[in-house]
Point group: C2
Chain length 146, copies 2
């Protein structure tokens, strides 16, 4: 992988497409639902601009972005009642700031390991499904009550 | 795993021990260096109190904690010059708020996958080593310039 691969926003999948169903957005970032049958409620919070690291953002926008991440966390906890929330900003393959927010259950496919580790069991059916509008409304409510 | 396992701070490894070499701490949290030969510069930022999720913290302390996470990110970027920073708050096994901050290199053991995925290659030797005092000083400098 060359330096240009890591910094070339012309080829960035998050610059070229929303990256999922957009359920909420602001001038700074968008929240998308990730279509993953194992993890209903899996969201990504994606910075609109192409920056590599959180510390490439000015402090004010960094705090604004984290406030959105935590509003999504509150909405997902309320709507899905997971056993745990996992948050991660990795970006090794797509070095464009984005947060993974993954609700976890004790009987989910990888618990207690991260979702990137080897699966531990088959998927457990019957998780609550929430549509994009409900999630968007939940995020708006969480942001208002911050 | 029972409910009590997830919430019992009597058995919490992060309540019972520092969790690594403490290089900086405040009334709210501590920063420890993780002893991982594959990932020099791997730090954890650990809340002192036993809370499960970031959104269990009041907003002010949540912002303070994230400001420490980002100060460590700035210090680690400056001292280790990694290709990428990975941030994660998981807590499936230890549901006590803590952040993993992992400097990544293109030729490291798991790149471009998360460090929890299957290894891709043997460890690459010769990463720069930084001692705890240098890292602590870097964090102090980053916090001062915020």
């Amino acid at each position: 992988m060359s330096e240009s691969d890591l910094d070339d926003f012309d080829d960035c999948v998050l610059c070229g497409a929303p990256g999922g169903e957009v359920v909420w957005e602001s001038a700074l970032c968008r929240v998308v639902m990730v279509d993953d049958a194992d993890y209903p409620g899996y969201c990504r919070i994606i910075l609109h601009r192409h920056l590599r690291e959180m510390t490439d953002l000015p402090e004010k926008e960094r705090t604004q972005l984290m406030n959105v991440v935590f509003a999504v966390e509150r909405a997902v906890r309320c709507l899905y009642q997971p056993d745990k929330i996992n948050l991660a900003s990795l970006g090794n393959m797509t070095p464009h700031v984005h947060w993974h927010l993954i609700p976890r259950w004790r009987d989910d496919r990888h618990f207690p390991f991260p979702v990137w580790a080897a699966p531990q069991r088959a998927n457990s059916p019957g998780r609550r499904l929430v549509d994009g509008r409900q999630l968007g409304d939940g995020i708006i409510a969480a942001l208002r009550s911050t």
